[in-house]
Amino acid sequence: MTKILHADCDCFYAAVEMRDNPELRDIPIAVGGSAEGRGVIATCNYPARTFGIHSAMSSAQALRLCPHLTVIKPDFERYREVSAQIMAIFRELTEWVEPLSLDEAYLDISGVERFKGSGTWMAQWLKAEVLRRTGITVSIGVAPNKFLAKIASDWHKPDGLFVITPEQVDAFVAELGVDKLPGVGPATAQRLKQMNISDCTELGRCSLSILVDRFGKFGHRLYELSRGIDRRDVKVHRERKSISAENTFERDLTPAQVIAQELTPMVDKLAARIDRHGTPASSKIFIKLRFDDFTTTTLESSAMLPSITNFTELFERAWQRGQRPVRLVGVGIRLLDAEHSRQLALFGAPL
């Protein structure tokens, strides 16, 4: 029987800041970019959340909601260090750890014999150890699969622990709103609503053929999720699918300004990142543009080098789609998938 544990640190970046500077503990703080520029909030602590502040909100907006908010510049070096400590604790329990980001991971605890195999006890131990050794609180969900474990970790956040046993799955899922399902965002939720579907009980009544017809491949996934089924394994070696660099500009730029000022440093930064990842084989280059009206477009081109010339051309083509001032540009490469790496390389470095 598969047993998955999802661990999620509570407001991680803010938690690290509060741990290192206790004066911040009870006042509203946020970690993010500066409000003068285009900074956004990455994380905020619970006092800040009572003002309606949440991640991805612009720092300027956050300060309007809470003028005495302390906005701290992120120190990723330090967060990475703490993250490594936490992941190491996870690995003391099982080697089957799939980190999703610095502060979040799936653990496959199916084969763990310690704690008499009890997921609840393992979760309690992890929470206590992480708190004792790093000062960070973690919320944990335990369930028979990934998607339920993730929902469970969020259930009693912060400092939460919630277990869904196999026997409880059906009852739990039946009550679940479709917006809780992974991959269902506002647009899909709206489309489901138009079909008079708002929870998994209603979704579960929908036939597979109708779902596949309306949602394509994702319809099949919806069909399974509504029944509490999620076949994804915990992947210890998570596959990187792309390498990219992006930048939100201090102010909106014309395409000529982007090309003249921004593109070259961005492509250089990308080149450095590609280099740092051992120059893996890429299948495509892509550019992402966000216009001043927040519409976003992505354009890819296969079998091209990530050169400034190619990105300039791609940028010009992508810009034609919106023809508005540009707020954000990202450049990147898509990597060839793992199957490809079965092909061995002539020259040492992984391809």
Binding site: I274, T279, A281, S282, A303, M304, L305, P306, E313, I333, E339, H340, R342, Q343, L344, A345, L346, F347, L351
Partner: protein
């Protein structure tokens, strides 16, 4: 500028020169071909700023000398679709090029010849002359293995090494490698190394044939120029360090088999029908006197073939991208091919099977292909 020319005299140089012209251009003049008509005929130039090709055609009649640039592909498509034996007249009239042939008339836009860029002449390090067929053979035997749009930009081309008695070329995409050598007396004192970009290699190859006519290579620090049969080809070089080839040519292979090249190629090509479309993996099972080739795809379809090979020794199971093997078998020039293997994670060496033990043959080629994990 005003002249007339026969369709046949124009077509070959025009299509070669237009081949250099890229379909998508940033600079409008680069989609044009430069025409220069003078007493010594018509010179045609196409360029993409990396590769430049100048061709030459005899005129039927020159009325007014001069020059202009006209859209390369349109001019070529028009000439190609005119009836055989047409006499084409071309005249510059009010900034437009008017082409007449029989009862047809085409008016093409032009751009001033002065706007047409030419690749800067650079310093010359060496000049060598060899028969066209020797250079063609080198390129034909190896160009398939060049990388395409690889991040390691120096692989998107062909390494040329020239010394006083041989030309060696190497092409590799990081998974397989082709190396060929042609023995020719050359007028170079030191070893010359250069990387010709992929497009330059392919365009140069189109200028060559199997004749003994000479081709002269002018080697500069940043450019390679080739002159042959009235054509002047110039290409920028790739500035980069080509990987050390000797390091990846396998030496310790203890399993040497000889196979009929044509038969093996057919077996592989047939089996590949049922290999995974994207990765094209096939499994080879080598045993005494026999090579079993097996492929399967995600739909669980399977292909299996057996082919007799000359082999005695221990068995081996190894996987390859079938395309890489077929590419090699397509260019090996002999009836039989020799494969030398060692184990399932080491590369295979493929060579032509030669009957005589000539220590220094006029031409030789070797191929290295890395396996796929099974």
């Amino acid at each position: 500028m005003k002249f007339s020319i026969s369709r046949e005299a124009l077509l070959r140089p025009l299509s070669l020169v237009a081949g250099v012209v890229e379909r998508r251009q940033t600079l409008p003049v680069l989609s044009n071909v430069l025409l220069m008509a003078g007493s010594d005929g018509l010179a045609l130039t196409g360029t993409d700023l990396e590769v430049e090709l100048i061709g030459h055609a005899e005129l039927d009649e020159l009325q007014t000398a001069g020059s202009a640039t006209v859209p390369a592909r349109k001019l070529m498509d028009i000439c190609r679709s005119l009836p055989e034996g047409s006499i084409i007249s071309l005249a510059l009239e009010d900034g437009r090029a008017v082409l007449r042939a029989g009862r047809s008339r085409f008016t093409l836009s032009t751009l001033p010849a002065a706007e047409f860029p030419n690749i800067e002449q650079s310093k010359q390090d060496a000049e060598v002359t060899l028969p066209r067929k020797a250079l063609k053979r080198l390129i034909d035997a190896t160009s398939f293995a060049m990388a395409q749009q690889d991040v390691r930009y120096y692989l998107n081309g062909m390494l040329f090494e020239l010394d006083s008695n041989a030309v060696r070329v190497v092409a590799t995409d990081g998974h397989r490698l082709a190396l060929a050598e042609s023995r020719n007396e050359l007028t170079v004192s030191d070893l010359q190394r250069l990387i010709l970009p992929r497009k330059g290699v392919l365009e140069l190859g189109r200028l060559l044939d199997d004749s003994d006519e000479p081709v002269t290579l002018v080697l500069g620090p940043n450019h390679l120029r080739a002159r042959t049969g009235g054509y002047v080809f110039t290409s920028k070089l790739i500035d980069g360090k080509f990987p050390d080839v000797n390091r990846v040519i396998p030496k310790g292979g203890d399993k040497r088999l000889v196979a009929e090249r044509g038969e093996l190629r057919q077996v592989l090509a047939r089996t590949s029908i049922l290999s995974s479309e994207k990765y094209r993996g096939v499994r080879l099972y080598l045993e005494d006197g026999n090579l079993r080739v097996q492929a399967s795809n995600p739909e669980q379809e399977e292909a299996e073939e057996n082919v007799a090979v000359d082999y005695q020794g221990s068995g081996l199971e190894i996987g390859f991208n079938v395309g890489y093997l077929v590419d090699v078998l397509n260019v090996v020039g002999t009836e039989q091919v020799v494969m030398t293997l060692s184990d399932s994670i080491s590369s295979v060496l493929l060579e032509a099977a030669t009957s005589d033990d000539n220590a220094a043959p006029e031409f030789s080629a070797r191929y290295v292909v890395m396996p796929m994990r099974l």
